[in-house]
Every structure is written in C-alpha cells, then in structure tokens.
Symmetry: C2
Subunit: 213 residues, 2 copies
C-alpha cells in the first residue's frame, strides 16, 4: 500500500484475479506473464508491471504461482472486512444489478436497497430489503456502507447523490445518465450505457473495412 495504484492498473488486477481464480485447479499452478497476457489481451510487459505493485515475484523457470497472485491481488483490491454496499433505485436495471452482484464477490455485499415508489418499499430483492428514501441516512450508517450503486432516473440523480454523500458514502457507481457534481473526495465511477453503445456503433462502422488495433 506504499505505492499508489492507478485506476487502469487496478482494473487489470481485478480482471487478472478473476481469470486466475477460474483457472485455479484446472491448469498448472504456475503461469507465465505471456500466458496471462494472452488471456486478458495485453502485453506481457504490462502484466509484469502490474504484478510489480502486488509485490509478487515470479521465477524465470516456472513463472508466477497462481495462488500467490490471487492472494496478493486480494490484499490490494479487497478491504480487511467485507464491504457493505447499498443500491438506490430498484427499477429494472437496479434489480438486474442486485441479481448480478448477489454472491458474486464474497467481499462485496449489497446490504440494502432504496427506492421512492411505495410499491417497492419493504419488498425483498435477493434477500435484501428495499427501504424508503427517508431511511437512507440511518440505514447507511447502521450498515457502515460507504459505497453505493446509483440506478435512479437522471432527473433525481444529483439530489440522491447529495443525500448519499451526506450519509457518509465515499464511492458511487453511477448508472444515471448525468454527471454528478460532488466533493472531490467522493470517488465516482460512471457507467454510461448510451455512450457505450454509441461508441460501439461508431467504431464498428469505422472498422467495417479497415483493421483496428
């Protein structure tokens, strides 16, 4: 934790761990940088650079021990204790995500959902209760959650985000189609579905003829 880890590196580490975990037990307990590189489609130098920050050391003859890598990456990516997350806006997308994340990573637990519409309040989604917005601050404090998934309509996203930050949330995964204006110490990760799809069609068109690296 002495080195500062960039966003990009962290993304790749997370992915390495997932692929390595899948591989564990199926293939050799060791892996070379070029093999992992091929799996995630980056260069082997990139892989070795990323592994540097984990403090793992490989062996020229056998490569890296897969178990060591998984553990070392976990020490970086995971917190000491399981992280409680809340989800705000349990419409179609919200409940799909609830479903998606349910049990996916042992250290990431969605502990509560929130919504403003009465017919959703007090319902249980994947074993998780949905509360009304008025309970937001209280529940977030009770669960000591400091990360949130935001799947509310764009026109209320900023206001809800403000409430989240007031309640102690420090990181937001934002699916709402508007940029959030929040204090600099709150980390916001944006998933902009429309832009992503527009990118796909744009570059698909570009590469209709030409090769793209």
């Amino acid at each position: 934790m002495t080195t500062t880890i960039s966003k990009r590196t962290l993304e790749r580490l997370s992915l390495y761990r997932r692929l390595l975990s899948d591989r564990l037990g199926k293939e050799s307990p060791f892996i070379f940088s070029h093999q992992l590189a091929k799996l995630v489609q980056v260069t082997s130098s990139q892989v070795r650079r990323d592994i540097m920050v984990t403090g793992c050391f490989g062996n020229p003859t056998r490569g890296y021990r897969v178990e060591d890598l998984i553990e070392a990456i976990g020490k970086i990516v995971d917190a000491e204790e399981p992280q409680n997350v809340v989800l705000v806006g349990i419409g179609k997308l919200g409940s799909a995500l609830m479903n998606h994340f349910h049990g996916r990573r042992p250290n990431l637990r969605i502990k509560a959902a929130f919504d403003s519409s009465p017919e959703r309040i007090n319902r249980i989604y994947q074993g998780v209760r949905c509360y009304g917005m008025q309970d937001l601050a209280q529940v977030i404090r009770d669960e000591s959650a400091y990360a949130a998934i935001l799947t509310v309509p764009g026109d209320v996203a900023q206001q809800v985000a403000n409430q989240l930050v007031m309640a102690g949330i420090r990181g937001i995964l934002n699916f709402a189609p508007v940029p959030l204006h929040l204090p600099g110490n709150v980390y916001v990760e944006v998933i902009d579905l429309t832009t992503s799809l527009e990118k796909v069609t744009f570059f698909a068109r570009q590469s209709a003829g030409a090769q793209v690296s």
Copy 2:
C-alpha cells in the same frame, strides 16, 4: 471524418450532445466552453479541443451555438441511417437493457433479441421478438445489424461472440465477465460490472481521508 477520433474524445462528444440537448430551449442558445466544461467536469481547453474535431467554430463574444454543436456532433457520432442492434441473452440484465435503450436514441434501434432458453423464445420484449440461437445469422443479415449487446453467461460468451462475428457483427458491447478473443477488426467495448464495483470500493476506501482529484 478526415481526422481520426479517439475513444475518449468520442465519449465526451456523446456526452456533450446529450447535455446540450437537455439544455436546448431552457437556457441561452449559445454556450461558452467553460460553461460546458463545468457541466461535464472537464477543463475548458479539453472542451475546445474536442469541439475542434467537429469543425464547429465559436465566437469569442457569444461562444458556440448549441444547435450547431448538437448537429455537428451528430454528424460524427451517428450514421447516416438508423443503426440496427441486436441483443443476445435476455435474462434479467438483458431485459433491463432492452428496456433502458428502448427509444432512448432515435438512431439506435434494438431490432431483435436472442436466447437459448425455450421459454424466452418467441416472447416479445419491448416490442422486440426474441429468437432462438439457430436464427441468429439469418436475422442479423435480414436486419443488417452490425452491432450487438452481449449479456450471456461467461461460459458461453466466447462461443456466442464467434457466432455474432460470423454473422457479420462488427461491434460488441460486452457485459459478460470474460475477455473476448476476436479478430482485430471487431470493436469490443467492455462493461465489467464486478471490476467497476471493486474500483469504487477501492477508491472510496483510499479517499476516506485524503482528497482525490
């Protein structure tokens, strides 16, 4: 279209357009680079650089004409004709996305869905029919779709992606939690939900005390 446009620039252009469209009619028909910059939270130089590629010119006194910007960005981002998109894997996430994209951008139309499970085949989702996997190539050709949204489980993602490419798909928005190995002329945009959430909790923890830019 003479200049080559980077991924990052395209993302921002897409976002600019969306915010400018929301603003149209509500505020002044002109906007300065620093105003747009504030909305999307980038620097004003960045905005001006991005606008350069659109060929739009601003006026030192009034700024840029909002309508012109929207149109110029559309000329870059949109194709001449509406783009047909298909969605493969209409589970919870798939149908939430179907719902999300339905009518969102006039130029992007999901024209068909595919799934392997019999109880979903021939059902209609948001006015869009779900076909069996055996019809994939035929339907994609009939609709002349060349972009696809992939929301199938990880263990079949590669195989389905191969089928998509064989059927003529050139761009994939991939929600499956595995990297796809495809020819270089196929553009793949990855939305890795697990990694994104891990990033949020990681940086939320980091910034618990310190200020992050």
